[in-house]
């Protein structure tokens, strides 16, 4: 596709359930980021993938959060045993490589934990 695609766009789940959020980056982009954004707030860094290097997981808030990137392309962010405080917009972005490059963002997944 022409841009970063995220699915689903909206997800409502019950507390304690697991959820998977998907990100399809722009073809050829080697770097992929996941961020979390609360209403009207800035972006909280979660995890960063760069090529075949080990991902930077320093932003994951707890061991309930994990992410994978298969084949250097599609990425899945998994949240286990969701809590109400996990409710937020989860944004994915990709770029060709260096951080000086332009980040292309998806429209995000709005996660609501009831």
């Amino acid at each position: 596709g022409a841009g970063v695609s995220q699915s689903p766009s909206n997800k409502v789940t019950e507390k304690g359930k697991d959820v998977e959020l998907r990100c399809d980056p722009i073809s050829g982009h080697t770097a992929l980021y996941w961020y979390r954004q609360s209403l009207g707030q800035g972006l909280e860094f979660l995890i960063y993938f760069q090529g075949n290097s080990a991902p930077d997981k320093s932003g994951l808030p707890s061991d309930r959060f994990s992410a994978e990137r298969t084949g250097g392309s599609v990425s899945t962010l998994t949240i286990q045993r969701t809590q109400q405080e996990d409710s937020a917009v989860y944004l994915c972005a990709s770029t060709q490589g260096p951080t000086r490059g332009k980040l292309f963002f998806g429209s995000g997944t709005q996660l609501s934990v009831l």
């Binding site: 707030q41 951080t99 963002f105």
Partner: protein, 110 residues
Amino acid sequence: TQLLEQSPQFLSIQEGENLTVYCNSSSVFSSLQWYRQEPGEGPVLLVTVVTGGEVKKLKRLTFQFGDARKDSSLHITAAQPGDTGLYLCAGGGNTGKLIFGQGTTLQVKP
């Protein structure tokens, strides 16, 4: 831990006024980016500055990177309602991780 602090967090002004948004840190960044975000969408890059003291202009928007590469500012001249949105600064280091500030919500009233 690298942190970027933006100020003000919220700004409501009349059309035609000028404004400045600040982005400050105690850490040095190799590059500083500014993004603008509209409701329901992801942020969109406005500019990247990489050299200390660098000034870039984008129509009515002027961006400056501090000499020590620890801070940046965004100045908007003669703001228009179309400038309304969330403005985010983001700092990059050598590790590749990009850190965002908490954002400045700008509302320009006609």
